[in-house]
Symmetry: C2
């Protein structure tokens, strides 16, 4: 499976998880190629709305481009949604607010060891 | 341009109109083919969230399948969004709440003459 297919696969898994818990969730068309900012996934449960950038990671560090994060924040601010990143490691999904990502020189990074300590698992993430 | 391309083109036009007015808006991936319900477009401005089924119509009547409308209502209810249809006639865009669509035997219908009287134009639609 190539990188794009893996990404789509991971997004579909998350969509399924949301619906199973009574949330509505949808994937964006052409995320990453659209002229306007958009998250990979937008989900809501009536009370909360969450815009999510989704990654699958086989290493220790998942990087996010500055532009990617800036666009997620822009979309979320205008829409009225919380901005989150979701990373699927071999151990499962972890969620972190965009504002808590660590900054490197030219990117943002989610470190697996750190994310397993301070990030949320799905059940925590969707609990109000 | 085939029907699908025309639909995508119309959706992109709407996305552009929303961003121009300070709203965030995104198109759904695989709308109509996704396993889960999703609208063609989801847009928000912090206060309002709107889920929209988008059509272009060259005749007098635009039909919506029962299932399409049921899925739009389901998505909107779980997400916490208003459910609308948007129809682009040669005269421009008109917006109507899903609940105001007329019902026929096996579908819902937006009639051009009627929609021009009771529907909203974009500026009205996005005004709070």
């Amino acid at each position: 499976m190539n990188t794009k297919a893996k990404g789509t696969n991971a997004e579909r898994q998350l969509i399924h998880m949301f619906w199973k818990e009574g949330w509505s969730a949808m994937r964006a068309a052409g995320s990453g190629s659209s002229r306007y900012p958009c998250p990979d996934i937008l989900a809501g449960n009536g009370h909360r709305k969450v815009a999510i950038e989704v990654k699958t990671c086989i290493g220790e560090n998942q990087y996010f481009a500055e532009e990617e994060i800036a666009q997620l924040q822009l979309f979320s601010r205008h829409f009225g949604a919380e901005a989150w990143v979701a990373v699927r490691f071999s151990e499962g999904w972890f969620f972190q607010p965009v504002d808590d990502l660590k900054r490197t020189d030219k990117a943002f990074v989610a470190n697996k060891k750190n994310l397993k300590m301070v990030g949320l698992v799905f059940e925590e993430f969707i609990s109000d």
